[in-house]
């Protein structure tokens, strides 16, 4: 079925920006002409070799791509089952996959003559990536960040300021990532002529979900080639963590038509997927709704009011998910599971100890699921997991969390 144009999972979205029933363009009239303009410019750039040549140059020399595909031998031995490969996107400049997408959008903004870039950020990784690329190209950069996140992510706030960005703490709503996105949209509505909104995940109104996916697909394309080199075949299972879902769709998309490849997305289960909604598992614990320009699975109450969600990982702390994931979930091409804070923290330590890699808390969710399934899989089963970010930003959070446990276990966190 691979490469069959009519039966492909890779053709979405349609001309209305829909993946099945998900996606779309649910924005105010003021923004509608802007996103139509953006779509037209992106369609032009997509087929322009010079655009991709510039991307390729920067990916190679500025970001450090291709990122390695690394056989995690010790981890494989420890788990005693499937063979585990890590796609090392945490080695990118700025420490995560975010810059893959930011470069694409900023090059597009330059083509469109936009001089002022706005972005939303949760943990600050997308904000840092945007500030970085804006510094490189001499563009004004304004980052909206929830007031609460500004406080708990001080190092990233300082990084953004060093890079010349203006960080605006958002206190509207409850001061979370979704409120930061609301305020970025309000800025865009106000400054329509000179501003480009650089969205950090594969969500928002069309064409963002498709565009961000296309920029992040470099992850999956490389992984496919590298796996061919290393093993001479496709992986059996690919796994990635999901907040909005950009690193995951980047890994998944090039494999969608490879029927033999099992695809698993891992959501943030927080304190557990329960009625208290202390999690961010939109697919596992939410239902379809409309927010931030697209129809997708959302955490919401009976009245259709959006809930905040909770996760130890600020980067997964979003009550929605990219619309393409909602579609893949509905048609069953990808499976989605949830991992709790506790399981993610265990995986964090496992990764440090076995591989000498300090991972970000986001991919720890994916790793925790790998640790769950690998032991029961045969030794010739190949898993490829996206290590989408490094953990420098998270050591304070982890220390605090483990510190709490340490009081009971004399210096060593409980297993």
């Amino acid at each position: 079925m691979a490469n069959d144009l009519f039966n492909s999972f890779m053709n979405g979205p349609d001309e209305k920006g829909r993946f099945g029933d998900f996606g779309g363009r649910f924005v105010s009239e003021t923004l509608m002409p802007l996103i139509l303009d953006l779509e037209a410019e992106y369609e032009k750039a997509k087929t322009d070799d010079s655009f991709w040549a510039e991307m390729q140059y920067l990916w190679t020399h500025y970001v450090g791509r291709p990122s390695p595909l690394y056989f995690a031998e010790s981890l494989t031995e420890r788990l005693g089952g499937a063979k585990i490969y890590l796609k090392r996107d945490e080695l990118n400049h700025t420490g995560a996959h975010k810059i893959n997408n930011v470069l694409g959008q900023i090059l597009l903004a330059r083509r469109m003559g936009k001089k002022r870039i706005i972005a939303e950020t949760g943990a600050g990784q997308h904000g840092v990536a945007t500030a970085t690329v804006c510094a490189k190209f001499g563009l004004k950069c304004i980052v909206y960040m929830g007031a609460h996140d500004v406080q708990r992510q001080a190092p990233n706030v300082f990084r953004m300021r060093l890079l010349g960005a203006e960080v605006i703490p958002v206190s509207s709503g409850r001061g979370t990532l979704k409120d930061a996105m609301n305020d970025a949209l309000r800025d865009w509505v106000t400054n329509v002529s000179d501003t480009f909104y650089c969205i950090g995940t594969a969500a928002g109104p069309h064409p963002y979900p498709a565009m961000v996916r296309d920029f992040q697909s470099i992850i999956g394309k490389e992984a496919k080639e590298q796996m061919q080199e290393a093993e001479g075949r496709l992986p059996d299972t690919i796994i990635a963590a999901i907040g909005g879902g950009s690193n995951a769709i980047g890994l998944f998309h090039p494999f969608l038509d490879d029927d033999s490849v099992r695809i698993i997305g891992v959501e943030a289960g927080g304190k557990g997927v329960n009625d208290d909604m202390e999690h961010c598992a939109s697919l596992t614990g939410g239902r379809p709704g409309v927010l931030h320009g697209n129809r997708t699975f959302l955490l919401q109450d009976d009245d259709g009011q959006i809930l905040d969600g909770y996760s130890i990982s600020a980067g997964l702390d979003y009550p929605g998910i990219g619309p393409e994931h909602s579609w893949l979930h509905e048609i069953g091409r990808a499976e989605y599971v949830a991992i709790t804070d506790k399981e993610a923290l265990d995986a964090f330590q496992l990764c440090c100890e076995t591989e000498g890699i300090i991972p970000a808390l986001e991919p720890c969710h994916a790793l925790a699921h790998v640790a769950k399934i690998a032991p029961d899989l045969p030794k010739d089963h190949i898993i490829c997991m996206n290590m989408c970010g490094r953990g420098d930003k998270d050591i304070y959070t982890v220390a605090k969390y483990l510190g709490f446990d340490m009081s009971d276990t004399e210096g060593r966190a409980a297993d």
Partner: protein
């Protein structure tokens, strides 16, 4: 003919411009906002926009955002907003009610069910900020079929090429957003608004009402004079936020209505 159409016909006969007021349903609580709502027609309000609170009002400035938060904290829901409309209708069968808000609470309830309930509650029209013409199949077309007006926003970014698409399925009136920005942020300027209204009126026979950035009786008069009427929202909501007695809020509304009616 909906109550909105009837209202504009009556105003045209009197040679008067329309004054439209916005309040958030349930702000600061349902009883108070119902009391304000019931007093609006006597204060000179021709059409009532009743806000449906939503957690993520991406087109609203701080004043309306906070009103929504107060309403939600007081336990307001879409159902209770419909209850408010129905309660108002018991004493007033002519003043049009337009629900204004965002799509998710409606989508969550189910479009068909919502339209039946809204009609039964005596609602006449809908303004749903995050449904542009590109998404007309969602609610706009079903609403028109159910006999409700679907009032579209036109904005300074709606150029001549796009205008026909925006006007195509609009009914009741066109809501011209006078500034690029959120509610209550910048002040509308009659000198800028006049030519824009003329541009829209050249393309439609539906009345054109101007809102966003209208906050004083003088401004209401100036804006109404270059359009078919004007909307005030944030300035009224600010009075409610300040905890002013209902009678004072309504006295302020009357000065705005008088201003608009002079225009």
């Amino acid at each position: 003919m909906t109550r909105i159409d009837a209202k504009f016909a009556a105003l045209a006969e009197k040679g008067q411009k329309a004054f439209v007021s916005y309040i958030m349903g349930g702000d600061p609580d349902m009883a108070t906002s119902l009391e304000v709502m019931k007093g609006l027609p006597a204060a000179g309000v021709d059409i009532i926009e009743l806000g449906v609170p939503f957690t993520d009002p991406m087109a609203d400035g701080p004043t309306i955002q906070l009103a929504g938060q107060r309403a939600l904290e007081s336990g307001m829901t879409l159902q209770k907003t419909l209850d408010m409309a129905a309660e108002f209708r018991k004493d007033d069968d002519t003043t049009p009610i337009v629900l204004m808000g965002y799509y998710n609470p409606i989508y969550n309830r189910g479009v068909e069910k919502f339209l039946v309930d809204a009609k039964a509650a005596g609602v006449d029209g809908l303004i749903v900020v995050d449904l542009p013409p590109e998404e007309d199949d969602e609610l706009c077309i079903p609403a028109q079929k159910a006999g409700l007006n679907f009032i579209r926003l036109a904005t300074p970014t709606t150029d001549d090429k796009r205008l026909p698409k925006v006007l195509q399925n609009t009914s009741g009136f066109v809501y011209y957003v006078s500034v690029t920005g959120v509610t209550g942020a910048t002040e509308a300027q009659a000198a800028n608004v006049g030519p824009e209204v003329a541009r829209i009126k050249a393309a439609t026979d539906i009345p054109v009402i101007v809102g966003f950035g209208v906050n004083t009786p003088e401004k209401a008069e100036a804006i109404a004079s270059v359009a078919d009427g004007t909307v005030v929202g944030s300035a009224i909501v600010s009075k409610i936020a300040a905890g002013e007695p209902v009678s004072d809020v309504l006295a302020f509304v009357k000065t705005l209505a008088d201003g608009a009616h002079r225009g």
